[in-house]
């Protein structure tokens, strides 16, 4: 099997991917514009085919990362992956029947670990730039991130499912990722508000208690929130974010009126 490699850059991260061409080439083509900035420290990610593994019984997406002390493992029929934050290394062995999408999912896990190790966070949220400000609309699957993104047109959507957050000199920036749907080509914007989506027939913003906001945000921190050893640091980092960025519950329905409420109360 032919081997391929490419460098993937998302916000302040950089991954050097090596692996079988049939898995990497579709990702390289789809993510051609996601190149790392010069001098960004590279994390090598080794992908290998392993026919001795059992046939996959589902996508790797169904496998829950198990993290312990900075090392995350992904184990499922057909897959064995490890991400080691301390070593700055990641490797995935996969059965030949695996798909490029499985490798793509593994890279999300790598990105979550690498970003956190360097001071940022991967965040399960849709990011919308509205009137020059960044709004992170967050919530677990089914909370309405994609729906709210669609009703935000024509505003740019950095991503409708996963964002990266990085601290900046004047607060926090939210960055686009290539893992979900996007509208426009905005790559980053200052984070103005964190909005927990709540499907409702009425449209309004409700305050969240500090504890509620902290719990909600931690629960929407992919991969790391599954590690009891990492969780205290995850909670501490979200407290830093919350000291700079307000959080609200956004009750919304399937139309764009929630932006009128946001403009009136937060704009």
């Amino acid at each position: 099997m032919n081997l391929a490699h490419f460098d993937l850059g998302i916000a302040g991260t950089a991954l050097r991917l090596d692996g079988p061409e049939p898995w990497l080439t579709p990702l390289r083509v789809a993510w051609a514009s996601w190149t790392p900035a010069a001098e960004t420290p590279m994390w090598p990610v080794a992908i290998a085919e392993d026919a001795t593994l059992a046939e996959p019984q589902g996508p790797l997406f169904d496998a829950r990362p198990r993290c312990q002390g900075g090392v995350c493992t992904l184990r499922a029929p057909g897959f064995q992956g490890t991400v080691d934050a301390g070593q700055g290394l990641a490797d995935l062995r996969a059965h030949p029947a695996a798909a490029p999408a499985d490798v793509g999912y593994f890279l999300r896990v790598v990105l979550a670990v690498q970003t956190f190790a360097r001071g940022g966070m991967l965040f399960h949220a849709a990011g919308v730039e509205h009137r020059g400000k960044g709004y992170a609309l967050f919530g677990v699957s089914g909370s309405g991130k994609t729906t709210a993104s669609q009703f935000s047109a024509p505003d740019p959507v950095l991503n409708d499912d996963l964002l990266l957050l990085w601290p900046s000199t004047d607060g926090w920036q939210m960055y686009a990722t290539p893992f979900g749907k996007r509208r426009g080509d905005v790559r980053h914007v200052a984070l103005h508000s964190l909005l927990r989506l709540v499907k409702d027939s009425d449209v309004f913003l409700a305050p969240m208690s500090p504890g509620q906001a902290l719990g909600e945000l931690a629960s929407n921190t992919p991969v790391l929130s599954a590690d009891p050893l990492w969780l205290p640091d995850v909670l501490a980092r979200w407290e830093i974010v919350l000291a700079a960025v307000p959080a609200y519950a956004l009750h919304f329905r399937r139309d764009s009126t929630f932006w009128e409420v946001i403009d009136a109360e937060l704009g």
Binding site: S209, P210, G211, Q212, L214, G215, E216, A218, S219, S225, A226, D227, P228, L231, P232, L235, A236, E239
Partner: protein, 95 residues
């Protein structure tokens, strides 16, 4: 159902963090969390694998100068909900 003489302990995997007057309890294996007020936080701290639920209720009633009957009812209901969420486990069951 829990009993007054049951002894509970905190599930080993939970992670807690104080936030203002609240205590955030995260259950990493389930990807869920619970936010406790001051009374709930105190109850969780008193749940140490030694005290019975009755002893915990009495301690809270004294500390918060609250109606013992009301506290007993609240503690039993609250403990049951935390057991169901996986934040507490029963280590000694009466009867």
């Amino acid at each position: 159902m829990l009993n007054w003489d049951d002894v509970l302990t905190k599930a080993p995997a939970i992670v807690t963090r104080e936030s203002g007057d609240e205590l955030v309890v995260v259950l990493p294996e389930q990807g869920k969390f619970v936010v406790l007020n001051a009374t709930g936080a105190r109850m969780l701290r008193l749940t140490d694998g030694i005290r019975t639920l009755r002893e915990i209720a009495r301690a809270i009633a004294l500390e918060f100068n609250a109606d013992p009957a009301q506290v007993e009812s609240d503690v039993l209901r609250f403990a049951q909900s935390l057991v169901e969420r996986g934040a507490l486990t029963v280590i000694k069951r009466h009867g």
